[in-house]
Symmetry: C2
Subunit: 306 residues, 2 copies
């Protein structure tokens, strides 16, 4: 049986969605190098049973945290441009992220209007309240409603924020039809959010939308520090286990699988539609390969539920 | 193969220990009623593959929390007396709890000295720092070291307290050779404690001792409120699921099994010796039966690890 396309899976809020996410290459890379990266990426993704590909839109987020950024911010190619120019070999849907604050209204509107039928999007608001933006998240939602209401739109869900379930419902009212979580390391916080969201939907008579959980391998303590700098809640025991492990990547892999299993059980029992997003943002070969393995393993876990 | 006795399992810090815990009957019960309760208890425990029985020592703990106690405090029979007078049919070891602050030194010393070879104990300190006590926990440890150093002694481990791993190590230095946790509803907090304890042991070159996790079914929202009143950390999602469930007891059972599975995986991977204590403190028939079922199910999970 052929699996329905991502757009339909999300419209029908069906569980078991699996996507993979990548960051476009650095802007400083040569044209040749970019081509090479795109080819390698498509090659390793082709073997996976994915419903789509997420292309992140990177913002420097230096306003997020006064502490030093553990990794330098390196400008990357625009996701939409990278997709159009280099990923034509990708035959499945793409979810193009838009940090909407980066774009003047007309640029955002222009992009939306031109986006092909295989494109979905996730609009991301500013990383802090004080940041000056070209277009606010609310305004971006209005533009979509006016110019491209058929563009399937997602929103980010961040378990670390209080009342996030209310924000999710507000975004849902403004057109978001699915959610992609922040990287999940703290399952308990994620369960709190899901539970609050589910029962708030019930209280309002609203239909819960699919929540896609982002899993990201962490190959070193430095990566974990970066994740924390980004605002992700990391349990102490998890940090301890990475810190003391002789093979942090294998330890992290094991934890990601356990998190996936836990969230599948939780969502199935609650009756909340869910999916997974396997993130591959590292440029280290071992981490790239491990993320592909993780996607294959999660695909296996989802197989009889899709 | 015959399983070694509890004393030896704990001395050797072997994983897979399974005990069951009960509260002695109310002091107001008639002699006949007490006899009846003891018989029923022994009867339902005889079918279980237990390593021992915990007898709680109940303190009113009204100093713990200025809020109203959700259930009234009803004085119960002394655990040691209940055991001596009514549980002679129990052929396995017992762990008799002693809230040491309740007893004058000579009474505690007398009890220790007379305790038979099948008796182990857990000393519990005062429920708040401000409480006036007959014997402090530290003094109780000294008395045991002096008068009954061969009495296997445990201590409570409370995941909700900061630096609890340091307290555990201090108690270990004063003679405690195993730990029994507070009721576990918040696995994440428990993992934090276990992780801190494990790595602190490693840093000091100390041998980690067995941690016995207490699982307790919660048949109603009121019971959950009581648990919280006692200082137990209950995740919001777990409270939500009990609150919204048509069958809170079945929901709680499911969660206890999931907690057990999670902690087994965690401890096995870390290399920390562990066990379980299935608590049965309710007087409702359905909850009593469910706790016996839970003990049987956890015994099954431990079978190939014992």
């Amino acid at each position: 049986m052929t699996r329905p396309p991502l757009r339909q899976l999300l419209a029908e809020a069906r569980s078991g969605v699996l996507v993979f996410s990548i960051t476009p290459p650095r802007r400083s890379a040569t044209e040749e190098r970019i081509k090479e990266i795109a080819e390698v990426t498509l090659d390793r993704l082709s073997a996976l049973d994915l419903d789509g590909l997420i292309l992140y839109d990177i913002d420097d987020e230096s306003d997020r945290n006064p502490d030093d950024r553990p990794f330098p911010y390196l400008p990357t190619l625009d996701a939409a441009r990278y997709y159009a120019d280099h990923l034509t070999g990708w035959r499945q849907p793409v979810i193009v992220y838009r940090c909407v604050g980066k774009y003047p209204e007309d640029e955002l509107r222009e992009w939306m209007t031109r986006a092909g039928p295989e494109v979905l999007s996730v609009f991301v608001g500013a990383s802090s309240g004080g940041k000056s933006v070209h277009t606010s998240l609310r305004r971006a939602h209005e533009l979509r409603a006016e110019f491209r209401p058929d563009l399937p739109l997602g929103a980010v869900a961040i378990g670390e924020r209080t009342d996030e379930h209310l924000r999710m419902l507000a975004k849902q009212d403004r057109g978001a039809s699915f959610f992609v979580s922040q990287v999940v390391y703290h399952v308990n916080e994620t369960k709190n959010l899901l539970s609050d969201y589910f029962y708030e939907c019930r209280a309002r008579g609203a239909e819960p939308r699919t929540v896609i959980f982002t899993l990201s391998l962490c190959g070193s303590l430095k990566t974990l520090e970066f994740v924390r700098w980004l605002g992700v809640d990391v349990p102490r025991w998890l940090e301890n286990s990475i810190r003391h492990s002789a093979d942090p990547l294998a330890e992290s892999y094991r934890q990601c699988v356990a998190i996936a299993r836990d969230l599948i059980d939780f969502c199935e029992h609650l009756g909340l539609p869910y999916g997974f997003n396997i993130e591959s943002v590292s440029i280290r070969k071992a981490e790239i390969e491990a993320s592909t393995d993780l996607a294959a393993e999660v695909a296996g876990m989802l197989r009889d539920r899709r």
